[in-house]
């Protein structure tokens, strides 16, 4: 075998190995999704969405309180996360090309990579400790903090994509800067910003660790922000580590619902991004 053939062979083998890597990575994904559907689909029934958990030993029951709790937590978390995230994003894009902006950006990324359980401890120390009880509010605060950096980053990126000419046209007509930002810049960037919000929600929806000792969990129906509240991920965790067969079955069903919610949000984010003329324009460039 001459040098040329050997080099070609090495090239083929190495490129082939890259393809093997793809297969090795994709296969577990398909296995997880497939197994989830296989185990969960038979337990997806109206009871899962409408009934409360049954006491230990009785089969049946559902996760209605956990699903409602998750939605409440996400709603409350968005109130905090969206406002802080979008405003921070506006600051970074419009006024952030200075030292302070650099620090905000750096710390926002730091927050993004802070383990979610540490953020849970933080919410515990500043809400649960003073009020002396677990509450939905504490859980929502933890999720909100997790959402902030994701939203801030996408907002900044999207605002930066808005063409300067659009901004200048508005300013030239005598419109104030803040009104230009709200009426022209934000409106143009809104599909992109919504994408960021959806991504943040998808991330927050699956978070378990920060809820363990903030929202805690509950076996009852409650929508009070001042009481412990159940959530889908925590319920799945509790059921998964329990010794009961019927709870395992429900954990799989719950996980399937959770994956469904997360994937739907991810798809919505992609759809919004695809619709956004800004993102399309940026891609073409």
């Amino acid at each position: 075998m001459n040098t040329y053939d050997r080099r070609q062979l090495v090239s083929r083998v190495m490129l082939g190995l890259c393809v093997v890597c793809v297969v090795v990575v994709i296969a577990p994904l398909l296995l997880i999704i497939g197994y989830l559907i296989y185990q969960g689909i038979s337990s997806i029934n109206p009871a899962l969405f409408t009934q409360m958990p049954k006491p230990v030993g009785e089969t049946g029951g559902g996760m209605a309180n956990a699903i409602a709790g998750s939605l409440l937590l996400l709603g409350l978390a968005s109130c905090f996360g969206v406002v802080v995230g979008v405003m921070t994003g506006i600051y970074l894009a419009e006024f952030g090309d200075n030292r302070f902006g650099f620090f905000v950006r750096f710390f926002s990324e730091t927050l993004n990579s802070t383990p979610s359980i540490v953020i849970g401890i933080f919410a515990y120390t500043i809400i649960v400790v003073p009020t002396r009880h677990f509450s939905a509010l504490a859980g929502a605060f933890a999720l909100g903090v997790i959402m902030v950096p994701i939203i801030a980053r996408t907002t900044e990126d999207m605002i930066r994509l808005v063409p300067t000419s659009l901004r200048e046209a508005s300013l030239a007509l005598g419109v104030n800067k803040w009104r230009t930002i709200f009426r022209v810049v934000l409106r143009t960037a809104s599909p992109g910003i919504l994408t960021g919000i959806m991504l943040a929600l998808a991330r927050a929806a699956g978070e378990t660790a920060p809820l363990l000792f903030t929202a805690f969990g509950s076996r009852f129906w409650t929508l009070s922000v001042n009481e412990p509240i159940s959530s889908l991920p925590v319920q799945i965790y509790t059921y998964a580590i329990s010794p009961y067969e019927d709870w395992h079955r429900q954990a799989w069903a719950g996980a399937l619902v959770l994956i469904g919610i997360v994937v739907l949000m991810g798809l919505a984010a992609r759809f919004l991004a695809a619709k956004s003329s800004l993102v399309r324009g940026a891609r073409r460039r």
């Binding site: 090239s11 997880i32 921070t88 927050l111 990579s113 120390t125 799945i236 965790y237 959770l258």
Partner: protein, 323 residues
Amino acid sequence: MAADSIAKRLKAPAVLARGRLADRAFYTATFIFAGLVLIIVAAIFIELVAMSWPSLIKFGPRFITSTAWDPVARKFGALPLIFGTVVSSTLALLLALPLGLGVAIFLSDIAPSWLKTPVGFLVELLAGIPSVVYGLWGIFVLAPVVMDHLAPWLNRYFGWLPLFKGASYGVGMLTAGLILALMVVPFITSVSREILMTVPRDQREAALALGMTRWEMIRYAVLPYGRVGIIGAAILSLGRALGETMAVTMVIGNTPKISASLFNPAYSMAAAIANEFTEASSPLYLSALIEVGLVLFGVTFIVNALARLLIWRVGGGRKRVRL
């Protein structure tokens, strides 16, 4: 005269002044919210230090060197937890780095364009699966496979290594490392893919023009160019793995012991907090758990700062590469 009266009638200066005031107010509002992000990060650090103060005082540096994690005897040494976190994350990184890099190379240089989008989407989907679902799958599917097939096989052929001694009960360091590897692959892939995309086309074409094969082009022209960024991607993923909680908690076995064999159950910092926080019966216990959180926060902070500086450096400021 006429212009003056029109201006007076329009109250132009007043309108302008009000506009300027509104602009200032708006700027201040965005500034405050941006500042809030800094305050949150600072507050996390301050709260963690304040709440772990009793433990910081009582154990001092022994906290991270002592191997006794025994809540009943009120002894708190976090070394077994740190050991478990570091070993499981390192194991994950060793497995995930070549895999993730392979996928990134596939996506940037090998895949035909019709295949890029679906493969990219699937890898993103892998990143989107919630940690607790990984854990659920880990307990019921991966752990039995490790116990019945992978561990005995490793033991038979590599049993002479202390790493693969003894029998596996399914849950343990190895299973945790495998699950973690799966969870960080998407991060390595997406960051290194971005990095590889920043390698100029000229660089590739020059390599091919010199008569290199495609692999030689990747090996000698593309990878060296992106080396710093790829190291950054690896460190960033390490940061992710260190802080990962639920999946690890569910499969690592939750036993605060240091052992050489990867088959044995172990513990991690995040898992200890998740498991024991609500059961902490004494203020000292709680304080020790929060100190574990402080150590975790410190370690991930350093690791991530390092990674980001590397990536920003090669990414040409913050414009091209963000994760």
